[in-house]
Amino acid sequence: MSVIRNAELVPAPARRSFAALFSNVSRWRVPLSILALCILPWVLPSQALAVNVLIYGLVAVGYNLLFGYTGLLSFGHAAFFGAGAYATGIAIGAFGVHWFIAMLIGVLVSGLLATVMGMLAIRTRGIYFSMVTLALAQLVYYAALQASSWTGGENGLRGFTVSTLHLPGFSVNFLDPLVKYYAIMIVVAGALWFVSRVLNSPFGAVIEAIRENETRARACGYDVERTKLLSFILSGILCGLAGTLSAMHLSIVPLDSLHYHTSGLIVMMTLLGGAGSFFGPFIGALAFLSMEDIFSLWTSNWQLIVGVIFILFVLYLPKGIWGTLISWGKSR
């Protein structure tokens, strides 16, 4: 049902040159990503932007697990991102919980939400799946808007600034932008390693089989619904983790983080970079946020440029930046 190709995991024919290069890239994907992330704050215009790339990169990677690898187009992933952020913020602000525990709580809450939403949404298929996830996420949005004594409503959640990270034995100044970047990067790197393992696992093979042909996967003896649900939950947890990081980074949780525009943004980033590839979503987040940052300094009509670029990608480069690079490399 899906046109998304997973070029990376197709064992490459033993050819030299580009093909070999790309299969090496694939083998070393986690160390390579970490290396790239290490130099990111030095090449981007600002560290705040670099942190956003980390966070949205992680969101896109988490989303990609569901969209790119399992073939399910969810329009409600903002709910998990926002839930993670709100849970962390509330845990710190209202209950004075240690930041590390608060992050665990954030991940847990988004995982629970993903379980509930997943169980409801997995029953529907195709376009209805997109719509149900959208509707359920909107319910979460309105719930957060209404529960303003907990969430701050439209004003957003505030009052949980973490300025120092206390770790066993030492503490670091979290207000220092570089310290903050590398602290968050460690978490993101860990998450990337996790995703890489999941993709390489037997489960990773099953979700791709489901994306490629649901009927066949079922006939092969896979419980499609349970597999989809697990993929949905893992994806939600990763987005929730990104949400907790976003809360720590910005020291606020905007209500907009639950809005369906955020969900749309996640889809756009993933597609731009290349759904169904390991590096794609991160590259998509990097490209999207950099474009937005640069164009919005240059013109207030930056949305026009971003929209046109997105359309061109859907039309001519549906594999996204990274997917196109890979198939170009392979064809050499």
Binding site: L9, V198, P202, A209, D223
Partner: protein, 246 residues
């Protein structure tokens, strides 16, 4: 596998009515019948894709009523599809490997899939036996039609099923490809029970041990190819009206 009084209704439409049959081990049984006779419905019920409205389905003595479709293959029933049904963007090897993997690991998110040598070996061996070893690394969608059909059967076979259901295995094939497929099926028949739906009458009569004829959702005849050829009623409703099949 035995079916007793199986019936299936879609809304008001009766697709299958009171079909009873018993499939003995080690036989090739062909199911024939004109279009709309209920072959596909029957097949889908046998493979668990549809649940019968009435009647019982037993396999190796166990009632299959509450068994979800994805468990059928674990009990030893595998199928191929009439329309090619493979994983188009996965490599040929991965197509078969992922099918083999279903017997070892399904929800494990932490192991390395390449550590599962067994599934890979079984998949490679299966590809060798259907003659696709040379194309193992190619994305499945780039295979020729006949090769895709062979891959389709390899996916079903890697489960090492006791009962193999083949839905028009030679659909859309030329004479050469058909011959190869027939040879493959004969080779397989040595080890397992095979049930197939086919239109190519000559092939069925040469290949199968037994033929069931469905007509308007009901069992019209059941016997050896010779008996079926001699059955006047079958000739009347089926062979006579459409000599294209003969």
């Amino acid at each position: 596998m035995s079916v007793t009084n199986i019936g299936k209704q879609f809304g008001g439409l009766v697709a299958l009515k009171d079909v009873t049959a018993d499939f003995r081990e080690g036989q090739i049984t062909a199911i024939i019948g004109p279009n709309g006779a209920g072959k596909s419905t029957f097949f889908n019920i046998l493979s668990g894709a549809l649940k019968p409205s009435s009647g019982t389905l037993r396999f190796r003595g166990a009632d299959m009523a509450g068994v979800p479709q994805h468990d059928y293959v674990h009990r030893g029933i595998a199928r191929s599809y009439q329309i090619t049904n493979i994983f188009p963007n996965l490599s040929v090897l991965e197509n078969v490997r992922v099918a083999a993997q279903a017997f070892r690991s399904r929800m494990n998110i932490w192991a390395d899939r390449s550590a599962d040598r067994d599934s890979e070996d079984r998949a490679s061996a299966m590809l060798a036996s259907v003659g696709l070893s040379a194309r193992a690394a190619t994305p499945a969608k780039f295979l020729a039609h006949g090769q895709q059909r062979a891959l389709e059967i390899a996916i079903a076979l890697v489960a090492d099923p006791a009962l193999l259901l083949l839905d028009e295995p030679t659909a859309g094939m030329g004479p050469e490809e058909t011959r190869e497929m027939v040879a493959l099926i004969e080779k397989l028949a040595a080890q397992r029970t095979i049930l197939l739906v086919e239109h190519k009458m000559k092939m069925i009569l040469g290949l199968s041990d037994r033929v069931l004829v469905l007509h308007h959702g009901q069992m019209l005849a059941d016997g050896t190819p010779k008996e079926i050829q001699a059955n006047s009623e079958v000739r009347r409703v089926y062979l006579g009206q459409n000599d294209g099949y003969a």
